[in-house]
């Protein structure tokens, strides 16, 4: 048996790959790395398996997506127009909601009053509520400033929804960064005239 160690390991790898594949494939929601580790304790092997799976499905109708620290199979964007699947046509969000979502996504973590500051207008009730209901945002740490305001950030659900691996993949984020528009210290008007 010990002589067969190498072979045995290979068999192990093959089976383990199938297990990981099945675990991710059969789940509708992204499966976290931690979750996968419960089955495949060997991190190195797990990493290899995930790379192998990504390759395997590279040119399939279904692709392996990495979403933050989780993995999910999603239909490939290549076939998107060809699927006659019942689509949930989402109700278009209000301008306030889309802008608020963008502000949270690009400036996270951010407090409510900072959002209001950027938009230059107070946030109507229900905007944060709606984004929370959609599962796209979640509360983050509280600021260590007077009143300890809660911050908001985007969730994995948000990344999943827009097919993003991580926040750095947000469209146009590099431009915003390089032009200094994401600069945290340049919050103006707060102690200025606008409430």
């Amino acid at each position: 048996m010990k002589n067969l160690n190498k072979d045995y390991k290979n068999i192990d790898f093959g089976l383990n790959q199938k297990i990981v594949e099945a675990l991710i494939f059969s789940s509708a929601e992204p499966v976290s790395y931690l979750e996968l580790q419960k089955t495949i304790t060997d991190n190195k092997q797990l990493d290899k398996i995930l790379i192998a799976l990504e390759k395997k499905y590279m040119s399939s109708g279904v692709n392996l997506y990495k979403i933050s620290n989780s993995y999910a199979f999603r239909t490939s964007s290549e076939v998107s127009e060809h699927l006659n699947i019942e689509r949930i046509v989402p109700k278009p969000l209000s301008r306030a909601a889309t802008e608020t979502l963008a502000i949270i996504a690009y400036h996270q973590p951010i407090t409510r009053s900072e959002i209001e500051n950027i938009r230059g207008v107070s946030l109507s009730r229900g905007t944060i509520d709606l984004l929370l209901e959609l599962g796209w945002i979640k509360p983050g740490q509280r600021r260590a400033t007077p009143g300890n305001p809660l911050t908001w950030k985007t969730s994995n659900n948000f990344l999943d929804h827009f097919g993003l691996k991580e926040i750095n993949e947000l469209p146009g984020i590099e431009d915003l960064k390089s032009s200094g528009l994401l600069d945290k210290n340049k919050i103006i008007f707060s102690d200025q005239t606008i409430d």
Partner: protein, 250 residues
């Protein structure tokens, strides 16, 4: 759809409804007059904003405080631009103020751009799809109950709002029930003879007036019930006379 590019704004037929705040309006004004944000003439923009605001006020449009505050701020900035030597301690210079405003506008414009880019991306459930028929594994501790943070918070919200929390507490009554009166009267069946005043059967230990009345009422109702059952006879010789009970000993 194209909120970013406002079709030619006619300043004089404009209402404020279409704008998400004063900076949004400033952006629109800048765009409408093809003012490049990088070569922005703050002075010109301030003038246009104030002109717009002035017009809106004349038209009796309900103007939110935010617009007026920005108006005041711009008027102040304008005056500073006109009188650059005017030095007020602890206050921004005209240049600094212009810069701040420019930054604020550029930042909001940047957000507007990326929010459009974001929603142009393929979206889950519309352009790409998740597993339609998920399977669940027993050994990965997956919780088979669904509960989102939103649900949890909303539930809590409902609990702490009054609507949901109004429970009515009915104080325990001390009234003498008819049921009790019936069993009480029945207990006298064997020991009583002849016509007896109904009042004699009211428990003597009751002190509360209301309770005595209720005991009287329920004993009367109980006596009627027992007549129906054939256990007793009732008699009242005259109106307002005492009510007499006679038990039919079996």
């Amino acid at each position: 759809m194209s909120e970013l590019i406002n079709p030619k704004i006619d300043v004089f037929s404009l209402s404020l409804d279409g704008f998400e705040g004063p900076i949004d309006l400033l952006l629109s004004l800048a765009r409408d007059h093809k003012i490049d944000l990088t070569k922005l003439s703050i002075f010109k923009l301030a003038e246009q904003y104030l002109e717009f605001l002035d017009h809106a006020i004349k038209k009796d449009i309900d103007i939110a405080a935010e617009y007026l505050v920005m108006g005041a701020w711009l008027a102040f900035l304008k005056s500073k631009l006109l009188l650059p030597d005017d030095k007020i301690e602890n206050s921004y210079t005209a240049e600094e103020m212009s810069e701040l405003l420019e930054f604020q506008m550029k930042r909001l414009e940047g957000i507007k751009k990326v929010s459009k880019l974001l929603f142009k991306k393929h979206q889950l459930g519309t352009h790409f799809f998740k597993r339609g028929d998920p399977e669940f594994f027993n050994n990965n501790n997956k919780v088979h109950y669904e509960l989102s943070l939103y649900d949890l918070i909303k539930t809590y919200g409902k609990i702490v709002t009054q609507d949901n929390n109004k429970s009515i507490t009915i104080a325990e009554t001390k009234f003498y029930s008819v049921k009790d009166a019936i069993s009480r009267l029945k207990s006298f069946v064997k020991t009583s003879n002849g016509w007896i005043n109904l009042l004699e059967f009211i428990p003597k230990n009751i002190k509360d007036k209301l309770e005595i009345k209720s005991a009287l009422a329920s004993h009367f109702a109980a006596s009627l019930e027992l007549v129906k059952e054939g256990d007793i006879s009732l008699r009242q010789d005259n109106f307002n006379d005492k009510i007499l009970i006679s038990f039919k000993n079996k």
